[in-house]
């Protein structure tokens, strides 16, 4: 059996497969279907400091091999997460990464400072795609300077590793990736969802309550793969790739273009045990090809360029 262990430098994982924030609830929803110890780790749903309402429905639209969502990061906030969810997750043998949100820079820092006081968290993943009221409503992820500032601010305060989760809705992903590295990020993860919309021709209404949403699922895999490749070439810190991964082969393709680990997202909805199946499929592929270590495939794409 091939060695699937994954070293992110700041974090060692049993295998390279994590679950993506926003598609895995707080983790506990999946306990009837999946042994959390079978995956490398889980990234829980984005947390603002307080509870959050989210957007009016409809919140979901299915598209060709994809899903547009406009949930609006409805959630319970850090206090209830720490009181109700973390103790349950601590009993499971898995790395817990918390996705951190903020409507302004300070809120990210408050979330981190609060969670730093609780055990059972391996790292933070900064969701810098949230509209930022202190920055005229712009998402920090769309601007290199804002990305660097927020990452640096989070790193100064956090006692834990910080991963910056990048948005694909930018002109030059390499410059954003470098900005996160300059700000001191321990790693980057990408891609978040692609801005999208769907409309009903007959009623002439948008299909989402929020009008705009984010596209995920197999439909976005080629875009995600391209951006993971570009980001991995731009930085030295570990890159975690995601976007439409549904199979072990999908995961290995992201590793081939430079991702040291991957996240499984929308596939969790279709098959709640997807992440564990993908781990098995990675192992099977390595065994069939005589690869001793899955990590050996990282960044070995032969481009001829």
């Amino acid at each position: 059996m091939a060695d699937l262990s994954t070293d992110l430098g700041f974090l060692r994982l049993r295998n390279p497969v994590l679950t993506a924030s926003g598609t895995f609830g707080y983790g506990t929803e999946f306990l009837p279907f999946l042994d959390l110890a079978a995956v490398g780790g889980i990234v829980v749903k984005g947390l603002y400091f307080g509870p959050r309402e989210g957007n009016p429905p409809p919140r979901l639209v299915e598209t060709a091999s994809g899903l547009i969502n406009a949930i609006g990061l409805q959630g319970v906030g850090v206090e209830r997460f720490a009181a109700d969810v973390l103790p349950e997750l601590r009993r499971r043998d898995t790395a817990v990464i918390v996705n951190v949100c903020g409507s302004g820079d300070e809120e990210y820092y408050r979330v981190i400072e609060f969670l730093d006081g609780h055990e059972g968290i391996a790292a933070y993943e900064l969701n810098i795609s949230c509209p930022n009221v202190k920055r005229n409503g712009a998402c920090p992820a769309m601007d290199p300077r804002a990305t660097r500032e927020i990452v640096a601010g989070a790193k100064r305060r956090s006692r834990r590793p910080v991963i910056a989760k990048l948005s694909p809705n930018v002109t030059d992903i390499a410059s954003i990736a470098r900005a996160a590295e300059d700000g001191g990020a321990d790693g980057i993860s990408l891609i978040n969802t692609l801005l999208a919309m769907a409309v009903d021709l007959d009623t002439r209404k948008p299909k989402l309550g929020n009008v705009l949403g984010g596209l995920s699922g197999p439909a976005i895999k080629p875009v995600a793969l391209r951006m993971t490749y570009q980001a991995a070439r731009a930085v030295k810190i570990p890159v975690i790739g995601m976007g439409g991964i549904c199979t072990g082969r999908d995961a290995l393709e992201f590793m081939l273009v430079g991702a040291r680990a991957v996240q499984v997202g929308t596939a969790n909805f279709v098959d709640p045990a997807s992440a564990a199946r993908i781990v098995r499929e990675i192992g099977d592929y390595c065994d069939a090809r005589g690869l001793a270590r899955a990590a050996d495939i990282v960044g070995t794409l032969k481009t001829g360029l």
Partner: protein, 263 residues
Amino acid sequence: MRREPAARIIGKRSWGDFHLLRLESPDLAAGASPGRFLMIRTSDGFDPLLRRPLSLHDAGDVWIELFFRVAGRGTALLAKKKEGETLDCLGPLGRGFRMDGFGAGRTAWLIGGGRGVAPLYYLARTLISRGAGVRVFYGGKTSAEIPLREKFESAGIPLDCATDDGSFGFAGFVTALLERALEGGRPDGLFACGPDAMMKRTGRMALGLGLPAQLSLEAVMGCGFGACWGCVHRIKKDDGGQWRKICEDGPVFGADEILWEEA
């Protein structure tokens, strides 16, 4: 709740766009109760991507039944499945109808519209087996949209039908038929599943008369088990409301806790 990757189709009936499938699965049957639902894959690939939520139409020791109407690509693919083929199902999921208190000497009126009648057959059978008196009000646009009327009748379940075009039974909405029936008598509770407009009207009538009513809501669902937060409805909380998940906190809610959008 669990995943049953290969529940075998052991029976099928079709009436135009409406279809009934019987699946063999002791595991799915074990978790069944009226109002709960399954999430079903309609393709082996990624298009359509999401599972489709379908409520349990009936259940026995080792089987469950589903009743649905073709509404899009997913249900169209499901309608093509034949006896002997298998379906990948997740469930049973959600909180179903609360039947406590509905035993001998109590009466329940069940109101269903179109495909929304699906869970009411199972509910009617279960309530009757508990000794409760049951009367079903079943409506559709035309006689072709109330295909289960013979099934209810052959099971001996008292049935009143309504069609918008008057082609069968009462001419008008099923809620108008219900309203007329409520002038002549009162049940101990109402149970409804159907289009939002029907449920909103039923809920209003129940609240006006002080009758307890349970409504089973429908929504597009991403996962069906509480992880995606995609299928919310406005539910009362304190003086306002909050978005609650239909899949996990429902799909059945009390008429007194549901807040409707003002159209």
